[in-house]
Symmetry: C2
Subunit: 396 residues, 2 copies
């Protein structure tokens, strides 16, 4: 795949260098047309018949298989729906009863807070004394013991881009009798993932970051085929039922990962995601990863050569990073605001981290060089040091 | 409000009489334009900045207040998100720990199966021996006893349109120390609901039926303001956190109903719903109810006068019905297929129920008369009796 040609598939604002596709991906050009067709030719024209006639009901499975190809999941082992937080809950609620004699959920202090919150909420609901351990990321491996019921990690750290070694940690978890839940929020569409090869138990992720599904696009969940028929689906909604339209009084789970479906699928969002996946269907993840590493290395080299006052917060070894690079700066928030004002969009995470995401589908070396030029100039001239750039916003 | 003028606000297919707005509402004409603006001017142009600059982050609360007006909920007591099944789980998971010494969840055999499935899933997860009782709808009132932790009912029966007396049942539940969860799937936008006046504890509902939010539009949840600060949000996602963007390691619930938010809001779906609510903002629910009853009564009278072989499955007393009317026919599935083939779209629920929904925003007396004409003619000529009309589909 020639990534210099894929940029034309995205609708990017003139003059903007977008280094925040790790937070919300850019819009594929085909989305408005597809969504309009969905609205006018499907919803308006077919009305209720759309569920069958337009294939809406099958979208969670059909799109799940297409996401699955990107993360090494066999057809029929991924399904779309809900939000990532809900999928974390489902995975954990499925996994914990499979280790009834254990009470430790092992995560790390670098996990995305919502994953930890969902674990806290579930542990509170269960009231069985589950303990959530969050050592620092580098100490996770040593913390995998026979006490651990579930190892629940986000592969790529949302702040630093540090990447866990999924294969090794999964193997060690299994050696100690623990199950694994991998959050692929910053992995799917960013780095090659092979869930089957690493023998992961559960995985979850979102589609609005690297996959470019749009704001609030649905999440996905993977369950290893060897486990799925033993999963008790506790968010046991009708669309995870073996026969949803029999309207039987008792829940009976659908075979396979279909039981992780809950309620009515979000058809508009799935239609937008479908267009994004048309692009991904053509992508070789190995080639994409090579392009991502090249962009990231170019950015690090440029920034370190020309920008004073910033410190690399990401691993220097590209094999230990996802597809983002973070730099610390004592006034990181203000510097990021100045960058955004000049058309270089990254984002900020407290206390001092400037994040830059690298998305080869719509970024090239020229973009990276211009971003470095602008950052270097902002820092050299101190023009980030204006009151407007220091005002805090709720979201960055 | 003059309902003869609101029909023009919807994009309905030529020649179709749509009596299935109780399953999936028709598309408001303004939706494609608004969604295209969202895609091109917000997602594509603003990218990550859309969360603040375009108000995406506040949509669940802002739209919740607008739905709240239709169901008698004070501003700040309703929030949008997820699916109805997930909201049922949240309400029940919040309510059960408030009655720790009780083990009975009282519902009825007419509840929508997904609500019962979600209760079964939660009861299984908790493992505390909760029992779900499902007497026939007419026996629910007598079954409210001091054993009941939660009375969980759908106000309007999805098959028959039978309507529970929310005020009386809520009062009796409270008299026995039980909490109430009302599913308003077939109520919101169909009948006047006054949650505050009946002193309901929790309510949930969907927006793709009478509210016309589109296929898979997000759900809503109401928590009585007097209760909400005692609610333990167990689906404790980051957007229900008091400070989501502080990324603190521990969950702390947002004040009020905001704690029932879970993950990232479905922005595309919310934008479509917003257009639908522009219409609802102008609707007086009393006037709408009067129009709905007039349409329903006209339909019943016409069908009973002219159609042989059908039996009314809905209460004859309009005050005991929602905004749908169901008739039984031994070959109801085939008859409904014949109706659909001739442009009268209702739907079918096993074993023999033909459902017809009445939506005054886009139906008038002429539509009802034509629907009766066509049904009478199909039954009189027996032209429903073709093999094609007897073939079962997964969804109707």
């Amino acid at each position: 795949m020639d990534f210099s040609r894929t940029k034309a598939l995205f609708d990017l604002p003139e003059g903007v260098i977008y280094l925040d596709g790790n937070s919300l991906g850019a819009m594929p050009r085909g989305v408005p047309e597809r969504v309009e067709a969905l609205l006018r030719e499907e919803w308006a024209a077919q009305l209720i018949r759309g569920w069958n006639a337009c294939g809406w009901m099958d979208m969670p499975a059909r799109l799940g298989d297409r996401v699955g190809r990107l993360i090494g999941a066999a057809p029929g082992s991924v399904v779309m729906g809900d939000t990532l937080s809900v999928k974390v809950h489902q995975a954990l609620a499925a996994a914990l009863p499979m280790r009834p004699d254990r009470r430790v959920i092992l995560s790390d202090s670098g996990n995305f807070p919502s994953d930890l919150y969902m674990a806290q909420g579930l542990a509170g609901l269960l009231g069985q004394g589950h303990e959530i351990r969050t050592p620092d990321p580098q100490d996770v491996e040593a913390a995998i013991t026979d006490e651990v019921a579930v190892l629940m990690l986000t592969e790529v750290d949302y702040r630093t881009g540090r990447r866990h070694e999924m294969a090794r940690l999964t193997a060690k978890a299994h050696a100690h009798g623990a199950l694994t839940i991998w959050d692929l929020a910053h992995s799917a569409g960013a780095v090659p993932v092979d869930l089957a090869a690493v023998d992961a138990d559960f995985a979850v992720g979102c589609t609005y970051k690297y996959l470019n599904g749009g704001p609030g696009a649905p999440a996905f969940i993977y369950v290893a085929p060897r486990l799925v028929d033993a999963v008790e689906a506790t968010l046991s909604g009708w669309l995870g039922h073996a026969e949803p339209f029999a309207f039987a009084p008792d829940y009976a789970p659908a075979p396979g990962v279909g039981r992780m479906r809950v309620g009515t699928p979000p058809v508009l969002a799935l239609a937008a995601l479908e267009v994004a996946l048309d692009i991904w269907d053509e992508v070789d993840m190995g080639a994409l990863r090579a392009a991502s590493v090249a962009l990231s290395e170019r950015f690090i080299a440029g920034v370190e050569a020309r920008c004073a006052g910033v410190t690399l917060a990401s691993p220097r070894d590209a094999t230990l990073r996802g597809s983002q690079v973070s730099f610390r700066h004592p006034q990181g928030y203000a510097v990021m605001q100045a960058l955004i004002a000049e058309g270089v969009i990254g984002d900020f995470r407290q206390p001092d981290i400037m994040r830059f995401g690298f998305t080869p589908l719509y970024l090239d070396a020229g973009d990276i060089d211009r971003a470095v030029d602008i950052l270097a100039d902002i820092l050299a001239t101190g023009r980030w040091d204006r009151p407007a750039f220091h005002a805090r916003k709720a979201v960055t």
